[in-house]
């Protein structure tokens, strides 16, 4: 023990926490959370932050759906409506989904690979704590004179340059900070996985959540800097008279879209690959069978990631690209659905003849598989260039990406929380309430997003506060589904609060009968420090 004490007391001398000599003594109060270097604390911070952002972005969605409940303009000004759609999108992407996955990575990766912590613990704290500041800036921009960003989360030039308001500068710098946070977080994940695996945890033994996050982290480091470049050019175009995106100066607004989507398409895989990992843990547990086709899962993930760099212009079919480019991006995009299909196949094959039970995480995982597949199929439709001319910029696209993001990414996050929460708190959550949450979410999410396919195919444009009368019935259903989905998430909040207050039955170390992996070998709740001595993996 002597060495550990020496180490921590030396460092403590240099920091504020003088008295805190003993490694196993958990610091108390707010300062614990502000100064922490512990991967579990930081994971918890990320997850709560993400939840708060999810509710904030959700509130904005409620404003959008309230306005769209009826045709005509009733509740908000069109400009404010645009600000709501923009900030809703930005918050959900950068504030809810991404931080939730980073939080899960923090909690789980060290426990899954038998590491004492993340590789760079102080930087880990920094990556987290800059996020709340970034979103404070973004949200504050809504209250400036002239309002917040109103050009869509994709901030296409010239909407974000010639036609935007002054607060664009706040938007740009807040995106910079989000980017810095993501890059540092991703570096930490990659280095942890490369360098901190316990003896015997070789590449092809690594749990899939770790694999998918490794590849996600690579994507993040590759594309977040490109996003930083894009916002920087928007900044100089708007404020310093450059003309990157202005044809009069030799630039091109379409160039903005190329740069943005070079980031943007890998970004959508950043938001789904960790979800694939989560589902690949949950399905085997509750089917009580090892995952079917582990190696093919790894290769599929890697190929999705590589292909995601050469499909970006499928978002730009209607910009007037030369035909050979349209063809190239169409076929490349369709190619991506092959590895994606491999994954869905493997999950189904894992369940085949398994002894399945339907605990809450499994319910969410099953819903994920079905609903994500629907989103993938609408994606395939969108990938067909000639028909995308009809679908582009309609509610069909909105339906597509909400199926993959809400009933995909968000459902997987909820599945993960229900799956690992007992390990974190040491108690079983309130199962009845959790099931209520599941069924309410499942039904409302479909009432909310399914009719969007129909209005979209019929031609209802996205990002417009008003619509033609014939879309009214469906829009009412959509809004009702929206409010119901929003309210259902309060049930989730209740479940999580109860669990954090340690209400519920204590659970065993393994928690779920069929669970496998290092994280299930340690006590529940997981001790503050785990694997200070690396385990040997056989």
């Amino acid at each position: 023990m002597s060495k550990a004490t020496e180490i921590s007391s030396h460092d403590a001398g240099a920091t504020a926490a003088h008295e805190d000599h003993h490694e196993h003594h958990i610091p108390k109060g707010v300062m614990r959370w502000i100064l922490t270097t512990n991967h579990k604390d930081i994971g918890t911070l990320y997850l709560w932050f993400s939840f708060i952002m999810f509710l904030t972005g959700g509130a904005m969605a409620m404003v959008i759906r309230a306005e769209l409940f009826q045709p005509g303009l009733q509740i908000v000004e069109p400009d404010f409506f645009n600000q709501m759609t923009t900030v809703h999108g930005l918050i959900m992407v950068f504030g809810a989904v991404m931080p939730a996955f980073v939080g899960l990575a923090n909690w789980l990766i060290p426990m899954m690979i038998g590491a004492p912590d993340m590789a760079l613990p102080r930087m880990n704290n920094w990556s987290f704590w800059i996020l709340p500041f970034a979103f404070a800036i973004l949200l504050a921009s809504l209250f400036t004179e002239g309002g917040g960003p109103n050009f869509g989360w994709t901030f296409y030039a010239p909407l974000s340059t010639t036609y935007s308001n002054d607060s664009t500068a706040l938007f740009v710098f807040s995106v910079h900070i989000m980017g810095i946070s993501s890059i540092m977080g991703a570096i930490n994940v990659i280095v942890t996985i490369f360098n901190m695996r316990a003896p015997g945890m070789n590449w092809m033994k690594m749990p899939l959540f770790v694999w998918t996050w490794l590849i996600t982290a690579f994507l993040l480091i590759a594309v977040m800097p490109v996003l930083a470049g894009a916002v920087t050019m928007v900044l100089t175009d708007k404020f310093f008279g450059t003309s990157f995106f202005d044809a009069a100066g030799g630039g091109d607004p379409v160039m903005f879209q190329h740069i943005f989507w070079f980031f943007g398409h890998p970004e959508v895989y950043i938001m789904i690959l960790p979800a694939f990992g989560i589902i690949s843990h949950i399905v085997p547990t509750f089917a009580r069978k090892p995952l079917f086709g582990y190696a093919s899962m790894v290769y599929a993930t890697a190929s999705i990631a590589l292909l995601s760099f050469i499909v970006w212009a499928h978002h730009m079919f209607t910009t007037g690209m030369p035909v050979y480019m349209e063809m190239f991006f169409m076929f490349a995009t369709m190619l991506i659905s092959v590895p994606t299909g491999v994954k869905v196949f493997n999950w189904v094959a894992t369940m085949w003849r398994g002894s399945m039970t339907f605990e809450v995480p499994m319910l969410f995982a099953l819903a994920f598989i079905v609903l994500f597949t629907i989103g993938g199929l609408s994606g395939l439709m969108l990938a067909i260039t000639p028909v995308d001319f009809q679908y582009h910029d309609t509610y069909f696209v909105v339906a597509h990406f909400h199926y993959v993001l809400v009933s995909g990414a968000i459902f997987s996050i909820m599945a993960a929380v229900y799956y690992w929460l007992p390990k974190w708190t040491g108690r079983m959550f309130n199962i009845g309430l959790a099931k209520t949450h599941f069924w309410c979410s499942l039904i409302s999410v479909n009432v909310l997003f399914f009719p969007m396919h129909f209005v979209g195919l019929a031609g209802m444009p996205r990002r417009i506060p008003d619509y033609s009368l014939q879309f009214a019935d469906y829009n009412q259903w959509i809004s009702i589904g929206g409010f119901a989905f929003g309210l259902s998430q309060l049930i989730f909040l209740a479940v999580v609060i109860q669990a954090c207050r340690k209400q519920g039955e204590p659970v065993s170390d393994r928690v779920w009968e069929g669970a496998n992996g290092l994280e299930w070998e340690i006590p529940s709740p997981a001790p503050y420090h785990t694997f200070e001595t690396p385990p040997v993996v056989k």
Partner: protein, 292 residues
């Protein structure tokens, strides 16, 4: 306790990250306000907030690095931790490459796609005929479709000299590293000092070049896509050289204080990698911005 492995050093709580977070917040708010005030030609708190943010950032860097150096000198760092730092630095440099990649991408797009298209290439004959029939697609784009004119910055003179300076600086830094590894401290100090001096000279010439561009060539940030890519690429590169020089300067003082040993010098290596990376970026710049 098992003795067969070295313990991985997990620092206890640290105040520096939150200080750094506040710093970035102030920098972002300050910079955004500076930009808005600049475009509205108004006065405000922007510059002060920005300056405060930079000061706080400096405090954080000093404090954080001091912790790191103390820990390293106290022998708390294992070989495994050293690998973490090296890998972290490598991936950071990769992210920087991608950042420059965005601007190089813009340059290539302008040269190969947007400017030719504005001139009527591919299926864009009508774009040219209807919008700017006078416009001719040339690179460097000295006359924009909108009619702004400028002169191009050729490779002869300062840019070539600067290229040679940076290339030599990479060599001197390499010899400094060799000196460190062979424990020849004199060679280390001199070569490192020479590298810093070369970095300084490079920056000085770069400023001269900008003055020349603005005053004599009429090449400004507003000169259309040629000036835009020129200034953003060389500008971000210049910022990186500045940062690199500061890093080397810090290393230099640490060397004088007797820090670093032949087998424990991560900070030196990281600084050196960064410098070499910045040099490689310059070579690409020289090629694609000036020569070709």
């Amino acid at each position: 306790m098992q003795q067969s492995y070295e313990k991985y050093y997990v620092p206890a709580q640290s105040p520096w990250p939150i200080v750094g977070a506040v710093a970035l917040f102030l920098i972002a708010v300050g910079a955004a306000n500076v930009v808005m005030e600049y475009s509205n030609q108004s006065d405000g708190y922007g510059p002060y907030i920005l300056a405060l943010g930079l000061v706080v950032l400096l405090v954080m860097i000093v404090g954080w690095f001091k912790n790191q150096i103390d820990e390293s000198m106290a022998g708390l760092y294992s070989a495994q931790l050293g690998r973490s730092y090296r890998q972290g630095m490598t991936w950071f440099i990769f992210s920087e490459i991608m950042f420059f990649g965005a601007f190089f991408g813009a340059l290539f797009y302008a040269r190969m796609i947007s400017v030719p298209w504005l001139g009527g290439a591919s299926n864009n004959a009508m774009t040219n005929a209807v919008l700017w029939p006078e416009f001719q697609a040339l690179w460097p784009l000295v006359t924009t479709p909108g009619g702004t004119t400028t002169e191009a910055m050729g490779p002869a003179g300062l840019p070539t000299i600067n290229t040679i300076i940076l290339l030599i600086s990479s060599v001197t830094l390499h010899f400094a590293h060799v000196g460190l590894e062979k424990n020849k401290r004199k060679q280390l100090a001199w070569m490192l000092g020479a590298t810093i001096a070369l970095g300084g000279i490079f920056l000085f010439f770069q400023v001269q070049e900008y003055i020349h561009a603005y005053r004599d060539l009429g090449l400004t940030l507003q000169s259309g896509i040629y000036g835009n890519t020129f200034f953003l690429l060389t500008g971000f590169h210049g910022m990186h050289v500045t940062l690199g020089t500061i890093i080397l300067l810090v290393l230099f003082f640490r060397v004088l204080k007797g820090h670093f040993t032949p087998d424990n010098h991560f900070a030196f290596q990281a600084g050196a990698w960064y410098w070499h990376f910045v040099d490689v970026v310059w070579v690409m710049l020289f090629l694609f911005v000036y020569v070709l």
